[in-house]
Structures are given as structure tokens and as C-alpha cells.
């Protein structure tokens, strides 16, 4: 649930610095974790997070509250910032996986929960393209709803579903040819 105070701030046509401080204190941890899972380095994550909030402040008045949570907008800024960072720096991009995410993927692929398959999946994920990995990450490891993913990637919801389905199909093909 979004707190009422935050909605009041977001509905303001002009946000002051103190308003932004409230939002910063609210969302810093989430954004930092999100960035950290991608770069696996505290220093880089700190830099990128501060960049994210600077950009968010600069275009805060452009944000209009239309039912989409402010966090989704911040995640969008953060993922764009990370993508541009990895593109420029040619650094290794990390994908932090956990067991629940892997189990979900296995369920979607309908391969059964055999340990052999589960151990294969991390290697298989590395063979995917970047956009596909982003999609998988947002859906299964960050656990966003389809709607939020669509908002972040600037796609329609149905298009997001289609892309996700194709990606899973591709994975299935690699596992069981």
C-alpha cells in the first residue's frame, strides 16, 4: 500500500526539496538493492543510486500520479541508468538468482522440479540476450507484476506477456530439444 502522505506529495504540482527528502528516505534501500543485484559492488551501486536520485529530482515535476506507484517510476529510472552504465563501461552485468525464482521458472517451463534441470538453468540464462535477461530478472527475481514490467520497459501489458512467453519458450527449447 502506498502511504497517504506520499500520495499527497506526488499530487503536488511542484515538489519542494523536503518532499523529495521524504521520498528519498522511503525508497533509497529498495533502489540500492535493485542496483546492487545488477552490479554486485557497493561503490558502483552507491554511485548509480545517487545518479538515479539526481535524475529523479531533476524530472520530479514531470512525474504525474496516475495510479502507477512512484517506485515503478524510480525503478524505471534506475534500470535505464544501469543499462547505460553497462553499455558505457563494458562491465560484467550480474544476475542475482534465488531458489524461489528458479522454481517459478521451472514451473513455467513445465519441466518438473528435478534438480538436474534446476542446476542447468543458471548456465542457460547466460545464453539469453540482454533484453530477455532483463525481462526474466524483473519477472522472476525482482517479482514485479506484469503491469509494472510493462511500465518499466515502456511496453503494453500484452506485449510484455508475449515477450515473456517467447523467452520461456526459448529456454524450454534449449533444455529439452
Amino acid at each position: 500500500m502506498i502511504p497517504a502522505a506520499e500520495i499527497n506529495i506526488l499530487k503536488k504540482p511542484k515538489k519542494s526539496k523536503d518532499d523529495f527528502r521524504v521520498l528519498y528516505n522511503q525508497y533509497f534501500e529498495q533502489i540500492f538493492d535493485f542496483v546492487f543485484r545488477k552490479c554486485n559492488d557497493y561503490e558502483t551501486a552507491g554511485d548509480l543510486t545517487s545518479n538515479v536520485f539526481v535524475k529523479a529530482w531533476q524530472s520530479l515535476n514531470e512525474f504525474k500520479y496516475e495510479g502507477v506507484p512512484f517506485s515503478a517510476w524510480l525503478y524505471r529510472v534506475a534500470s535505464n541508468e544501469c543499462n547505460s552504465f553497462f553499455r558505457k563501461q563494458k562491465n560484467v552485468r550480474f544476475l542475482s538468482i534465488d531458489e524461489t525464482g528458479l522454481h517459478q521458472i521451472a514451473e513455467e517451463i513445465e519441466t518438473g522440479l528435478t534438480e538436474a534441470y534446476l542446476n542447468q538453468i543458471p548456465d542457460l540464462l547466460e545464453q539469453l540476450e540482454t533484453s530477455e535477461i532483463n525481462l526474466i530478472e524483473l519477472r522472476f527475481f525482482e517479482r514485479f507484476s506484469i503491469r509494472e514490467i510493462a511500465y518499466q520497459l515502456n511496453l503494453t501489458e500484452s506485449n510484455t506477456k508475449v515477450k515473456l512467453h517467447r523467452t520461456l519458450k526459448k529456454l524450454k527449447k534449449i533444455i529439452c530439444p
Binding site: 557497493y42 552507491g46 529530482w57 531533476q58 553497462f86 538468482i97 543458471p122 540482454t130 535477461i133
Partner: protein, 255 residues
Amino acid sequence: MNRVKVISRTEIDPKKRAAFKDFDQLESKIASPKRGWKHWRYYSVLAAVSAVSVLLIYLTKFADNHSSPSSGKVIEAEAPHPPSHEVISIPKRQQQNPSSEPILSEKFSSTDDKQQETTLRTESSRKIPSMEEEVPSMEETSSHVERVDEVMPVTDPATYQYVKAKPNMSIQAFYKLLGDSLHHKYHAEGKVGIRFKVQKDGQLSQFTIVSSLDAKADSLVIGLFEQLPPWQPATVNDSPVVSYAEVPFVFQDPD
């Protein structure tokens, strides 16, 4: 294409994360102006400030070179009026020290005139004792110094002519008269300075002792001057004015 490395999720240390949570630092990052060629406004301000500072340095360094030629021009403009005898004109003084205020209004230049007269009068007073030496019988060698106290009407400095007050006789005769009248009346060594007012009709009044020798000498000198015949009053452009005169009266021991 970026290489993607799949890792198992690690727990984030909240202490390390909190180290990066600093809103004030973020605020300074937001407030600091961006650098780059696109932000020409900042550079234009810098350039303007540096240009002004260079101009100031130039002005302070070469101010003397600039000011002296301008004052020189003013002198040239006022120089053509030649100083007459006993009449002191301003240009002569200004040529002596051109660094002083270059432009003076007419009102101020007339007051300058007065100062100039006093300086020149002291010069003439130095000459007079040498004249007195030629008169062997004189006990007292003296000169008279005048000062105009009355505010002069503002006139054109070119035509302004001030003639100081003087006795109705020649200066040598005047001092001979003084010496004869006090001869052998009082024996002392020293000088008594007397200052008095010369009215428009030449009458002398308001005697005051400027430099005192002793009480008897002072009263003798005042008594002498009270009996003097009227003087020729000082004139400005041939019209008489009130003026003051100072005369040093020197007592010498005849032995």
C-alpha cells in the same frame, strides 16, 4: 553485448548500504552547476569578472600617467594671462605643482589668489630687511605683512588685481620714521610683531601683538602705531577694501 554472469543472490549488508544514504551529499550534487561547453553562461560570467579585474589593475597601475597630461591641458588654457607687478595670478602657482587639483572653479581660484598673495608677501618681507641695512641710523629693521580677511567679491581671475595696503610714504621713509620715533627710548634686544587693521579710508585700528618681547616694548610699539598717519588702503580692482597688516618691529642694542 554485455556478458551476463549469473550469481546466487547475496544478502546486502545494511550497514554498508546505509553509508551511501546521504541526502545532503545528493543535495550538493544537485545544486552544483554542471561543467561543459554547453554551460557557456558560467564561463561568460567568469570572463567578465576577469576582464573587469584586468581593467582595474591597468587603471591603478597607469593612473599617474593618465592624470598628469589632462591637468597639463588645463594649465595651458589658463596660462596666457601674464602676472603683473604686485598682482599674483593663479597660473604661475599651478605650474609649480601641476599634480594638485587640475580644474578649479572661479570661486575657488579667487581664494587661491589670496593664498598666493600671502606666500609672495612673505618672500618680499625677506627682501626688505636687506633694504633697511642700507639705512645705517635705523634701530629697527622690519617688514610688513598683510592679510586680507574680508571676503572678496567673486570676480574673473583674469582681471582680478589686488594691491596690498602700504604707508603713504616710501617704505624706507616709513621705517626711518619708526626708528627715529623710538630711538633711545627703550634699550632691548628682540622683536615685537604687531598686527592691525587698515580701514577703507586708511585709518589703522585693532592693534594686537603677534609676537611679544616684554610688556613695555609691546605698549611702546602700540603707542607708536596709534599715532601713525593713515595708510593707503588695499585695493581690489582699484576699489579700496578692508585689510590687515603685520609689521615686525626689531629692537637692537645700539652698542
